[in-house]
């Protein structure tokens, strides 16, 4: 078996599961979503393999989901309500159409996360992230991190990815709501963490989503510079001390600007 075939096999298995498994249906509405606060949806972590998950594997999937909920609660710092959407599970990233983004946006959903276990035995799977406020600036704003090397259900292994997108969406929503001073720390934190993910070597970046990640990073840099420029229009802004780069844009402060 060639290396390409070895990489392609889980993908074929993944898509054959999408079409064959009854679990991979349409998205259902999130039962617990109500109220006017900003929200983060945490969908199911499910097996999409034709091989049924054992009891212990199912337990670990539930554990990963709980970990995601708790992690995002910490990351959102009370700015958004983390809502476990029991039974909600996207068949694939393509279900997040313009209509779907529009519905999520009207419900004030900032981020949606799900986990698909493609091979429960070898612990291969993918975490999916839908960044609702990023749709306008960096479409499609859906990122799927596939973990082919195993240990997908290892909670510690997923921590870094979970921490990237919460500051990104919080920063973007503040920027879009013209709260430039508030947006900058989150935008910068998101930028740094996304850079770390792109440059990580263990495990290496997911080649499929890497171009989208780089595109988002470029947009974040542009928006951060814009946010700093606009924040500086206030004479009392703490960003008055920042000096522009040679190309007249602003970069994230190295120290003092991050919270």
């Amino acid at each position: 078996m060639t290396r390409a075939q070895a990489h392609g096999f889980p993908l074929v298995l993944f898509f054959s599961c999408i079409t064959s498994s009854p679990l991979w249906g349409q998205l259902i509405s999130c039962p617990a979503a109500s109220g006017d606060a900003y929200k983060i949806f945490v969908d199911d972590v499910r097996s999409v393999s034709s091989t049924p998950a054992s009891t212990s594997q199912a337990k670990r999937m539930g554990g990963l989901r709980d970990f995601i909920v708790e992690n995002l609660r910490t990351m959102s710092k009370g700015r958004a309500s983390v809502v476990p959407c029991v039974g909600r599970f996207p068949s694939d990233a393509s279900v997040f159409t313009d209509d779907e983004f529009d519905s999520l946006d009207r419900l004030r959903v900032l981020l949606e996360v799900w986990g698909a276990v493609e091979d429960p035995v070898r612990e291969q799977g993918a975490l999916g992230f839908v960044l609702v406020p990023a749709r306008q600036v960096s479409p499609p704003a859906v990122f799927v991190f596939r973990r082919t090397g195993g240990s997908f259900l290892s909670q510690a292994g997923q921590g870094a990815k979970l921490q990237v997108f919460t500051p990104v969406v919080l920063g973007l929503i503040d920027f879009q709501n013209l709260k430039y001073e508030d947006a900058i720390p989150n935008l910068c934190e998101g930028q740094h963490k996304l850079t770390d993910i792109i440059n990580s070597t263990n495990p290496g970046p997911d080649p499929q989503s890497l171009p989208d990640q780089k595109k988002l990073l470029a947009e974040l840099r542009r928006i951060t510079s814009d946010a700093i420029t606009k924040a500086r229009s206030d004479p009392g802004s703490r960003y008055q001390l920042l000096k522009p780069d040679p190309d007249h844009t602003f970069s994230c402060p190295v120290a003092g600007g991050l919270q």
Partner: protein, 235 residues
């Protein structure tokens, strides 16, 4: 001797106008000639006697028809509500997919104008796909009965007492443009013209006030709706 001897004349003077008598005679003759004779007189008398009754009967019939029609209409509405009951619950249920919501909305839309208030309510309180289904339902009803849909959605954007959420205002503007509801041109124009008064608009809506980005979205939608209506009117 006085030559002027008075003469005493006794008797009565009767002045008779012969023309007056003749005229009276002619009138009497005329009257006697105009008087219907026999059966004709009988019919006329009968009509005179029956006319008030006939008029009353016609008015009564017309009133009865109107009242009966109103009662039938009300009964139909109640029957429709009973039949819609299970469908309305389906559109609000949890674990609803987008396609299921669209299918339920299509079934409800078959009830026409009776489903309109319900769709507006789901826009307010429904879940993600219920809301999308309700908007699709309003569009479906508008295909055959645009008037009740237009009246209902225009009432949403005219409301200034915070009865509806900003999202319902958004959906109403969307439907007004899509139908299109030409009668709402003035309402949409007013909506668009008053948009820059953020504090004013924030008081028009229920729940949390729209954030600047949501306000911008609503503003874009009202602009788009106004353009659609103007384009339609100019055709």
């Amino acid at each position: 001797m006085d030559t002027n001897t008075p003469i005493q004349v006794t008797g009565t003077l009767q002045v008779q106008d012969s023309s007056l008598e003749e005229r009276l005679k002619k009138v009497e003759e005329k009257l006697s000639s105009d008087k219907p004779s026999g059966a004709r007189a009988l019919v006329l008398d009968l009509v005179k006697a029956l006319l008030p009754g006939i008029v009353l009967a016609v008015i009564g019939y017309a009133l009865n028809d109107t009242v009966s029609h109103a009662l039938q209409e009300r009964q139909l509405q109640l029957d429709a509500i009973k039949e819609m009951k299970s469908l309305t619950a389906d559109l609000q249920q949890q674990n609803l997919t987008r396609d299921q919501a669209q299918a339920k909305a299509a079934e409800l839309a078959a009830f026409g104008e009776y489903a309109v208030p319900f769709f507006i309510n789901v826009e307010e309180i429904g879940n993600e796909y219920g809301i999308a289904g309700a908007e699709a339902g309003l569009r479906m009803v508008a295909h055959s009965k645009p008037q009740p849909v237009c009246e209902a959605v225009a009432a949403v954007i005219r409301n200034r007492t915070g009865l509806y959420k900003w999202q319902t205002h958004y959906a109403a503007l969307d439907v007004i443009g899509a139908v299109p509801c030409s009668d709402s041109l003035t309402d949409v124009g007013f909506y668009q013209a008053n948009f820059d008064r953020l504090s004013g608009l924030s008081n028009w809506v229920r729940g949390d006030k729209p954030e600047p980005r949501e306000l911008a979205r609503l503003k874009d939608k009202s602009k788009e709706t106004l353009e659609l209506l103007n384009r339609h009117m100019s055709q």
